[in-house]
Every structure is written in C-alpha cells, then in structure tokens.
C-alpha cells in the first residue's frame, strides 16, 4: 500500500510533465554577438508589429516568423502580442496594401530560424525551448 502511494506521488507529476511537454515554452533568440542580454515582452511585441525597427545601438532589426497556421506562431502571438493570428493578418493587410510596412520574414521552422539568426547579427526569432543550442543566444523565455 505504501509502495502504491509512493508510486502515485512519483507517477502523477510525471504524467503532468508528460502533458505539459507539448508546450515546453518558447524562447527568443538573437545572434551570439548581439550586445542585447534580455528583451521585454513589450519591446518584442512592438518589434513583431513593426512599431520598433531598431536595436538600442541603432542597427536595424530583422524579425523572423514561423509559417502561417503553425502552432508555434499561434502560441507566440497569443502570449506576446495578445492577438489571434487572424487579428494579426488583418493588422498586416492594412500596412502591406498601403505600402507602409513589411511583415517579418517567414522561415520554415526552428532549424531555419537558428541558421539565419546565427548568420545575421540583426536577426531575432522565436523557437521552441527544445531547439536551443549554442549557435544562438536566448534573451527571453516565454512561459
């Protein structure tokens, strides 16, 4: 009986971990040489809505995005920008079709974003936590 209770205490949190692993969190990454050590959610929101276009040192920012309808993109915009993907595309349609803005460059996924950011000091992107490696620097974890 004791064994059973102990095993429940061990297994139950594991189950919980298992269900949570479908969303392990997103991280925001930049080039390792980027002087930025951290970014606020507010600034990140403004970068992805093209309201902020330069890093604090005055260099241009190139934000990167995931393909439309991807779960990663849906999560990012809900948690960081506070908008659904349809609200975001409605927002962009106003800027695109008046020549006032260009949406973030769309990449195929985490791997392509890491490769691009690693090769471009102006790049910024978001990837799933499990894809982190030494090629990029994490400046924010989105829970």
């Amino acid at each position: 009986m004791k064994k059973f209770i102990v095993s429940i205490f061990i297994i139950f949190p594991l189950l919980f971990l298992g269900s949570a692993s479908s969303y392990a969190g997103l991280v925001v990454v930049v080039h390792p040489a980027n002087s930025m050590q951290a970014i606020s959610k507010e600034d990140l929101k403004r970068i992805y809505l093209s309201k902020k276009k330069e890093f604090s040192d005055g260099s241009l920012i190139s934000p990167l995005d995931h393909p439309k309808d991807s779960e990663t993109k849906k999560t990012f915009y809900k948690k960081v920008v506070g908008k659904s993907l349809s609200q975001v595309s409605s927002y962009w349609s106003r800027l695109i079709f008046t020549g006032k803005g260009i949406p973030p460059r769309v990449m195929r996924g985490d791997e392509e974003i890491k490769v691009w950011v690693a090769g471009h000091p102006e790049g910024i992107g978001y990837i799933n936590k499990k894809s982190i490696d030494d090629s990029v620097k994490v400046i924010l974890t989105i829970k």
């Binding site: 507010e42 403004r46 276009k53 349809s86 595309s89 020549g99 006032k100």
Partner: protein, 436 residues
C-alpha cells in the same frame, strides 16, 4: 471612352515601372519580388428600389451580386536597402462594368528606418480607412460607413508623400504630409481634377490602438458637371479625426469629418458645408466579432433655386438682351426688379415667345420652379443609419461578413440614394474577404 484612355495611361506607367525592374536582373535575383493580393465578393439584398452611393461606388439597383466585388494584386521589391518599388493593380466590379486601375505605383526611398519618402501614384489618406478602402479583410464592416466615406475624394493621386515616425516613449507618432495632382474622380458626383492638393495625416499609435487627424486643402479644382457638361472651379477643405481602439475584447472605432466645398461657375451650388461621423462598437468572441454602427451625415447646401437657374439661362441668351433693347426704360426696370411679376404680363410673354427666347410651356412652368429644389448629389445629403454586423474568421486570411442596415434619409434629402428612397431602407449584405 474617357475611362479607357485613363486606364491605358496607367498601364503605360506600370509597364514602365515593370520594365525598370526587368532591366536590373541581378538585383531582381537578389531581391525577389513579393506578391500579395486581396479579394472580396459580395451579395446585397433588401429594399433596393433606388441605388445608392456606398462610398466608393454606386451600388444597389436591381443587381444584387457584384456590389462589392474587388480583386487587388500587389508586387513589391527592394531595389537596394534604401529604395523599394510597390505596384498595386485593382479590379472592381460595379454592377455591369469592371474597372482596372493601377491603384498604387510608387518608388519608396527610406534613408532611415523612421523616414520614408514615396513618389509616384499614391492614395489620398482622407479618412482612416481611405488608403485600404478596397481591402475588406482589413476592417470589420462589409464596407465603411457610407455617410462618412461618400462625398469625399477616395482616389489615387500623382505626387509625393513622406512618412516620418517619431518615437515618444513606447508610442509612435507618424507624420504623413503629402502633395500632388488629384485625377478626375466622380465619387463626389462631379468629375473634378486638381493641379495641387496638399494635406497632412498624423497618426498616434499607442497601447490601445491609434488616434488620427487629417487636414486637406485643394485649390482651383477644375471640373465639369456631368448633367450639364458645364465647367466650374472648386475649392475644398476637409478636416477629419478618428480613433481605432481595442480594450481587451472591446473594439471601438469612430471617425468625424468636417468639409467645405466652394464652387464658382457650377449653377446649382455655390457652397456645400457638411459634417459626418460614425461610432462602431464591437466585442470579440473568439472567431466572431459582432458589431453595431451608428452613422450620420449632414450636409448643408447653399443652393440656388431652380427658378434662379432658369432665369439665369434666359437672361444669358443674346436674344434676351436684344429684346430688352426694344423695351422702354421703365419696362426694363420692372423686368429686372421682379421678373416673375413682369413675366405674368401678357405683353412681355408675347414679346419673349415672339423673339424665340422661351416657349409658352417654359413660361408657364416658371412660377412652379420657385419652390423646387434641384436633385440632391452625393455632396449634399442628410442621412442616418444603424448597422448590425458580424465578422467571422472562417479560415486563415478569410473573413465572412453579414450585415443588416437601416438607412433613413433626413428632412427633404434623398440621402445617398440616387432617387427618392422609402422612409426607412432596409438592406442586408453578405461579403467574403480574403488576402493572400
């Protein structure tokens, strides 16, 4: 005929732009061309005895399909890191004819991230939605409130503008001055074109959305009245303010415009001054956005009566001057002082008819003209409406819109209808909007 000439000219411009791009194949490879597009298809039904000015078009009548049919294609390319090119072709269906326009075609020089100078064919930013009025996907309604979007120039122009963004804390202030020549436009009911229009659009972006203000002045517009073909000069001033806000799930959109048109040489009007506004309230519920809009437009016309117009035409006739010469000074004075009374004199009547200046039936109609007002135009309307709408995000980049609208022309006005409407006109619209 005039329209097709205009089209050809625009195509020529676009072709030049395209061949410029094609002439630099190396850059073209390094900077691929981005293609985006949008489309709308609509259906309208209800009390459609009279067609109406929807803002951008005249719709309604017996045709219920095609009211809001639009397709736009846009190409964009970076020529280098400071210069880019944008071209947008727009095809629109209006009842039985389709028009094809180079809506935007400009070169954008952006030496800094906060400054952009654009030259070429641009679109007037008169109201908040003006620059993307054909991109239905970008706003909640089937079409923007007609009381506000009618009777203003909603057109492309040839000129230059500047977009400067000032960062104020975490907020942005975007200043957009512009100047240019505005081509012939008939969405104010008159064909007008101007050599110079200037304006300033300012937008303040902050956490909850944005606020905007716009002023515009056009001077010495030459035009012709389509009903008579006569030429005239128009001066116009417009001031507009607007807000597009979101507080959590609550959507608030509102705009107000004050406009003044002064005419010289246009018979029925000497001055039109008006104001219009609307308030839209919506509440986001997942993929649904139900909304309600209250709109009103009130324009006052300093209108010359039909009698004055008829008398003006009669007295301008050279035969009339010759006839005046045959009268005694006292008779001449009587005719000038009170033409209606003098015209009831059988001797004067016989003289005018005899000289071929007026026909007996015209003469008979004169007294009744005194109380008659000339037909309204989209410049001169008094109208209110209430619209209930629902936007549904069906698929990604695809929105379905349903709307029910009750429109009331106010006072003696026909509102925005081209013939006398019922007391309360009820309309239902169904529109599908996509972007790609």
């Amino acid at each position: 005929m005039r329209k097709s000439r205009r089209k050809n000219r625009k195509f020529l411009g676009l072709a030049c732009g395209l061949s410029l791009l094609a002439a630099t194949p190396v850059q073209a490879l390094e900077n691929p061309i981005t293609i985006n597009g949008f489309a709308s298809a609509g259906f309208i039904t209800g009390d459609l005895d009279a067609s109406f000015y929807s803002g951008t078009d005249i719709i309604g009548d017996s045709a219920t399909f095609g009211a809001d049919n639009t397709i736009g294609l846009q190409i964009f390319s970076n020529v280098n890191d400071k210069v880019s090119f944008t071209g947008q072709l727009l095809a629109k269906g209006v009842i039985d004819s389709y028009s094809l326009d180079a809506h935007w075609a400009f070169v954008d020089y952006h030496p800094r991230s906060d400054l952009s100078i654009r030259a070429g064919r641009l679109v007037l930013p008169v109201m908040m939605v003006s620059e993307f009025v054909d991109v239905g996907y970008a706003y909640p309604w089937a079409r923007p409130p007609m009381e506000v979007y009618s009777g203003i120039p909603l057109t492309s122009y040839s000129g230059i503008d500047m977009l400067y963004t000032a960062h104020i804390g975490d907020n942005n202030l975007i200043i957009q001055p512009y100047m240019g020549s505005i081509p012939a436009s008939s969405n104010i009911g008159l064909d007008v074109k101007t050599d110079l229009g200037i304006g300033l659009n300012t937008t303040f972006q902050f956490e909850y959305g944005f606020l905007r203000a716009h002023v515009m002045q056009v001077k010495g517009v030459s035009g012709s009245d389509p009903s008579t073909g006569s030429g005239f000069i128009m001066d116009a001033q417009m001031v507009a303010i607007g807000a597009d806000l979101e507080f959590g799930n609550v959507v608030v959109i509102s705009e107000y415009i004050k406009k003044e048109f002064e005419f010289t040489g246009l018979e029925p009007f000497s001055e039109v001054s008006g104001e219009a506004g609307y308030l839209t309230l919506g509440y986001r519920m997942g993929k649904f956005l139900p909304h309600i809009t209250f709109a009103s437009g009130d324009n006052d016309v300093d209108q010359v009566s039909a009698l004055d117009v008829a008398l003006g035409q009669m007295t301008a006739d050279p035969d009339f001057l010759a006839y005046m010469g045959t009268l005694s000074p006292a008779e001449q004075q009587a005719l000038a002082a009170d033409p209606i009374a003098a015209l009831s004199d059988p001797a004067v009547q016989a003289g005018l008819v005899g000289a071929g200046i007026v026909t007996p039936s015209e003469l008979q109609a004169f007294p009744s003209l005194a109380g008659m007002q000339l037909p309204p135009s989209p410049l001169a309307y008094k109208q209110t409406s209430i619209t209930l709408g629902l936007r549904y995000e069906m698929l990604s980049n695809t929105a379905l819109k349903l709307e029910y609208q009750e429109i009331e022309a106010q006072e003696e006005s026909w509102g925005l209808f081209v013939s006398e409407p019922a007391d309360k006109v009820k309309l239902a619209s169904f529109v599908i909007d996509v972007t790609f």
